[in-house]
């Protein structure tokens, strides 16, 4: 059951991710990205991260991606033209990416042998209570720092957008 769920959603995520990269119209990429995020949320549930799964949907899919979609609509962005100038990226990118993926996969296989497995319900410490407790005790300072970061981002975004849209 776990394996089936994992495979379904992992494959869906990968398919969507590929779609993000290959589609030439930004709105299609955006929808695919929402698909990636939704399937990741399911995988988080498999790993016992209930709160993170909900936050993933609310924050990523429900807020950040809405912003993206919003901007795409506002700018009425069209499909991108096919022609690249960055020769280096084209020439070096593919082999480097392959190398990166290969190396990381190699290390993952070496560090995490097949015997270390996961199963649903194997970790129940990811509920709202546990996350909240850690957030407001151990991670209080980073939490406050991020709240200030968000505040700065809000002000910055307003200033940037306001000046131009006036």
């Amino acid at each position: 059951m776990d394996v089936i769920l994992f495979l379904v959603f992992a494959l869906f995520a990968v398919a969507c991710a590929i779609n993000v990269v290959v589609q030439r119209h930004p709105i299609t990429s955006a929808i695919s990205l929402i698909g990636v995020m939704a399937s990741l949320a399911v995988l988080y549930l498999l790993l016992g991260a209930e709160f993170i799964a909900a936050a993933q949907v609310i924050v990523y899919a429900g807020a950040i991606m809405v912003l993206f979609v919003f901007v795409i609509m506002l700018l009425n962005a069209g499909a991108e033209l096919r022609s690249g100038r960055s020769l280096m990226a084209q020439a070096l990118g593919v082999p480097l990416l392959a190398a990166l993926l290969g190396i990381v996969a190699f290390f993952v296989q070496r560090l995490f042998p097949r015997e270390t497995t996961t199963h649903f319900g194997g970790f129940t410490g990811g509920g709202a209570k546990e996350v909240g407790r850690a957030l407001f005790t151990t991670y209080l300072l980073p939490f406050e720092a991020t709240s200030i970061l968000i505040l700065i981002a809000i002000v910055g975004a307003i200033v940037l957008a306001h000046k131009e849209l006036d």
Partner: protein, 393 residues
């Protein structure tokens, strides 16, 4: 395991059927209510008192030609109503309607499934609800639709914040995210409901939630996305037939969802307003019996000719229902269902009442209201609640 699946399937079927019927008839109820507010009879032709009007509407929408305008973004244009409908129905899964019951000897809950993070789930799904409207507006390739879609997404994002914060305050009192446990913590009478409960009654939070709910469901006075005098019909200008109906049903399904959420979070779910030993269990009997009696009384001296038959029939039906409520074997699940339905119904009535009375906001007023009034008020309320909860415990 097997009985679990079977029961789940039964529950899904029942909930789905009831919900869709309710959706159809909600439309009829709304038209009637608004008509009476505006002193006109409302739907009257199809069936007695227009009771078959929803059926006629369904037939009309299904048989209409399924137009697809040129120049639309095909995939998204088709997907948008589907998305809207799916997401609207998804939240229903976690909404509990009543306590545990025994179905064929197997204990089960009057709820499709309970999640530890039920509240978050509803929030997550409703935050995804923006996409249906936004994509519909954009894919239509029509300036009115685009403007409607943009307005709607901005509005929904803006009102989601005060709504979430307003939800957080009663959660502090109940100390759980599971909708079922949430109701359990409010047992024992009206003064234990979160809206009135100590240490800090959540009246402010309830009002904020209701206002935000109006905006979330794009209802009057926040129905800017479909302001017909500015935008023709907003994001669904280019939609017709069943696709249009999907948006319509999604809107009503969302109304039911937020009303249920309001009831679960603030009004004690399926709990009676006062304990059964003080006679709360006879309330539904009395209500239906009174309604039946009134109907029969008017049936004896009908104002119109057709009422000579329709009113006595209605009266008998009501009296039968009242009698059913007296049966002890159904009381344990029918009573909670009655209270839940009554509470959700009164909130839905408020939705219609507001629609019948209030004018529409201007767009800047709408945004200003959300950010400058609702949001700070919700924050303040949460702050005070937090302090008091910490103080008491």
């Amino acid at each position: 395991m097997d009985s679990f699946i079977v029961i789940s399937l039964i529950k899904v079927a029942v909930v789905f059927a009831v919900l869709l019927t309710t959706l159809a008839y909600l439309q009829w109820v709304e038209r009637k209510v608004i008509a009476h507010i505006q002193v006109r009879p409302g739907p009257y032709r199809v069936g007695p008192h227009g009771l078959l009007q929803p059926l006629a509407d369904v037939v009309k929408l299904i048989t209409k030609e399924d137009l697809r305008p040129p120049f639309v973004h095909k995939a998204l244009y088709l997907a948008a109503p589907f998305m809207a409908m799916t997401l609207a129905l998804m939240s229903i899964c976690v909404i509990p309607f009543g306590p545990a019951i025994h179905l064929g000897g197997v204990p089960t809950w009057m709820q499709l499934t309970d999640l530890n993070i039920g509240v978050l789930f509803v929030l997550a799904v409703s935050s995804m609800g923006v996409y249906g409207v936004a994509f519909a507006g954009w894919a239509s390739n029509n300036k009115y639709a685009l403007l409607g879609g943009l307005r709607s997404s901005a509005q929904m994002i803006s009102y989601e914040l005060p709504m979430s914060i307003a939800i957080a305050a009663p959660l502090l009192l109940s100390n759980t995210l599971s909708l079922r446990t949430l109701v359990d913590t409010q047992a024992g009478g009206i003064w234990h409901w979160n809206v009135l409960r100590g240490p800090f009654p959540q009246i402010v939070s309830f009002v904020i939630f209701l206002i935000a709910a109006f905006a979330e469901t794009n209802r009057v006075p926040f129905d800017l996305p479909e302001a017909e005098n500015e935008l023709v019909a907003g994001f669904h200008t280019e939609y017709s037939s069943m696709k249009f109906a999907s948006f319509f049903m999604a809107e009503y399904a969302n109304m039911i969802t937020v009303s249920s959420m309001a009831v679960l979070l603030f009004l004690g779910g399926w709990m009676a307003p006062w304990p059964a030993r003080y006679g709360s269990s006879v309330v539904p009997v009395l209500v239906f019996a009174c309604a039946g009696a009134i109907a029969l009384y008017h049936g004896i001296r009908p104002a119109r000719r057709r009422d000579r038959y329709s009113l006595p029939v209605t009266g008998v039906v009501f009296l039968t229902v009242a009698a059913v409520f007296l049966l002890p074997m159904v009381q344990n699940w029918l009573l909670p269902l009655f209270w839940f339905g009554a509470k959700v119904g009164s909130i839905l009535f408020t939705f219609m009442w507001v629609r019948g009375t209030l004018p529409r906001f201007r767009y800047d007023q709408l945004m200003g209201f959300a950010w400058k009034w609702l949001f700070p008020a919700a924050m303040l309320n949460l702050l005070v609640t937090g302090f008091l909860v910490a103080w008491v415990s």
